[in-house]
């Protein structure tokens, strides 16, 4: 007996088996997005296509011809998905990694400052949280600054950081990483403060009856308790780091990185290039967050915390 007959035996709907897994729903959602994207591409590119026809003196263009043409423009308002995919393919697989036109090369530049910034940001966040949890003074004095730091638009402060660091002779990777740090330390601080404070009263009392020192209570109780919180906030911090790295590439007139690709694309109206850089950034963020998810799963499994 095959799965199909089993499925049909149980349910009246032939699609019930397909939709019960994860593959079915994912395919449906992706197809829906694609459909909306294509429809939007046709609709948004039609006015310019009519201009083109007018200039070329073409009349009586069939609808199917119109649709084909709107999906094949060189600088469309909204490029079609397959145009973006082809562009990504050309700039990743067909170009050498060392080439200035390789998307992988640019992703690598952005990735390095993302990771550096994330590392510094996460460490800073953890250290701040430890200070805030253990000292009332730090809690009162530091927390408002931590929060207000995030109310400043990153686009406003990014050039300042670049300029100031440049003035003291720091350039290259670090200034961009600092912007990633600026964005990523915040979720880690907030998450870790919450996590380090999450042990139940009964657990703290237990430590007290053992006459444990603050250091022992930290290592043996607070820190393990905070691990799940750390991973959750690291996921947010990682995505924020990538945004920070890209934003950091914009005001510097950087020649390399996904931000630089976005900037160059918008200078020359290369919408396909912009979209391929955007998709690459999304893919990068997704992979990085998924990677943290995998590490989280392994860590919690080792700690016996996944049931």
């Amino acid at each position: 007996m095959t799965d199909a007959t089993l499925t049909q035996g149980r349910s009246t709907s032939p699609f019930a088996g397909l939709m019960s897994g994860t593959v079915g729903p994912v395919i449906v959602v992706v197809s829906a997005i694609m459909a909306i994207w294509y429809i939007a591409a046709v609709a948004l590119n039609t006015p310019f296509q009519y201009d083109l026809y007018e200039r070329a003196g073409q009349t009586d263009v069939s609808t199917s011809q119109l649709i084909t043409d709107t999906l094949a423009q060189k600088k469309p308002v909204l490029p079609a998905p397959h145009q973006v995919v082809i562009e990504i393919y050309k700039t990743t697989v067909e170009k050498k990694i060392t080439s200035k036109r390789s998307l992988i090369y640019h992703s690598g530049i952005t990735l390095s400052s993302t990771l550096l910034g994330f590392l510094i940001g996460t460490s800073l966040g953890i250290l701040l949280a430890i200070g805030i949890v253990h000292s009332r003074v730090l809690d009162k004095s530091l927390m408002p600054w931590v929060i207000s730091s995030q109310t400043i638009p990153i686009l406003a402060i990014a050039p300042m950081i670049i300029v100031v660091l440049n003035a003291v002779g720091i350039s290259g990777l670090l200034p961009k990483a600092m912007i990633s740090t600026y964005l990523s330390f915040f979720p880690v601080t907030v998450g870790m403060v919450k996590g380090l404070r999450s042990p139940e009263v009964i657990h703290m009392d237990l430590m007290h009856t053992y006459s444990a020192t603050r250091l022992q209570a930290f290592w043996k109780l607070r820190l393990p308790y905070a691990v799940p919180y750390l991973f959750t906030s690291m996921k947010i911090g990682m995505a924020a780091s990538l945004v920070g790295a890209i934003v950091g590439e914009l005001p510097t007139g950087a020649v390399a990185g996904l931000g630089a690709r976005l900037l160059a694309g918008s200078y020359y109206g290369q919408t396909i290039q912009i979209w391929s850089a955007l998709l690459m950034a999304a893919f990068l963020a997704g992979s990085l967050v998924a990677l943290i998810g995998v590490i989280e799963k392994l860590t919690l499994k080792r700690m016996g915390m996944n049931r």
Binding site: I202, D205, L206, T209, Y210, A212, K220, G304, M305, R307
Partner: protein, 279 residues
């Protein structure tokens, strides 16, 4: 005693000594008042209590009578606002720093990321004991609470009763002479509770520790204790102290005997009288 004293006399002296052994806890005129937004709350008022070595003392009373608070004062988890208390002849804080007691909470409070064996190792790690000593004590105390074979399990893989036994093993691993237990079996069903009560008595007989036990179950208090302290609320105070004359070596059948029922009756009377105070 003279040199002519017979063997029998000597025996009597020994008995006399064991009848008035060392004082473990000495509470004198102790009060504890919590300052709250609604005004002061008199959690404990004029508590006088002596507990000797080898006693099994139960605090029983309705909610809010301060029985848990009194236990927490002994453990230095709360500070009294008046009166005096000594544990092993020193202040509760010093006793805590000397690791004089093991404390069993209402919930097992095991760390979910530690196996049972490593949970029991926790206080030993904090005390800075060597690995060999730790292993020895883990093994010994897991045997004592009948948990051998569950060393590598995580807390969530154990039943509530087993978790609570593990937490008792953790308290015993410190090897304290004094065991403080705050309604350790309160969350368990009657059958498991009876079983654990019997095991606890055997444990107490084997180790000759002093136990202070908080409960609001009359049968539990009478079955376990050599001394029952009845508390009543508002303000939390001692209403009655009953020295049980039941034999130390007892099993669950004793609950059907007239002696047992007589003590249970006196406890119930005390609880009722303490309650009628506020009606």
């Amino acid at each position: 005693m003279t040199a002519l004293a017979s063997a029998k006399d000597t025996e009597m002296v020994v008995n006399k000594n064991s009848a008035s052994p060392n004082r473990v806890i000495d509470i004198d005129n102790l009060s504890l008042t919590f300052e709250t937004n609604d005004g002061p709350v008199h959690a404990l008022s004029d508590i006088d209590l002596k507990i000797d070595e080898g006693d099994f003392v139960s605090f029983i009373g309705p909610s809010g009578c301060g029985k848990t608070t009194l236990l927490r004062v002994i453990a230095d988890l709360e500070r009294p606002t008046a009166g005096s208390i000594t544990v092993n002849g020193v202040s509760p804080e010093e006793a805590r720093l000397n690791r004089a007691y093991g404390y069993v909470f209402q919930a097992a409070a095991l760390y979910p990321w530690r196996t049972i064996a490593r949970n029991i190792a926790l206080p030993l790690e904090i005390m800075g004991l060597g690995k060999d000593v730790q292993q020895h004590r883990i093994k010994k105390n897991m045997e004592l609470v009948n948990l051998s074979g569950f060393e590598k399990k995580y807390p969530w893989q154990l039943s509530g009763g087993m978790q609570q036994r593990a937490s008792i093993a953790r308290a015993l691993a410190v090897e304290p002479d004094l065991l403080l237990m705050d309604e350790p079996f309160g969350a368990l069903d009657e059958i498991v509770r009876d079983h654990l009560n019997e095991q606890l008595l055997q444990l107490w007989a084997k180790t000759n520790k002093t136990v202070v036990f908080v409960t609001h179950s009359i049968p539990e208090a009478v079955f376990l204790s050599t001394k029952i302290v009845v508390l009543c609320p508002r303000p939390g105070r001692i209403y009655d102290i009953i020295d049980s004359d039941l034999p130390r070596d007892r099993n669950l059948d004793i609950r059907e005997t007239p002696e047992f029922l007589k003590i249970a009756h006196r406890v119930r009377d005390g609880l009722r009288a303490g309650h009628s105070y506020e009606d």
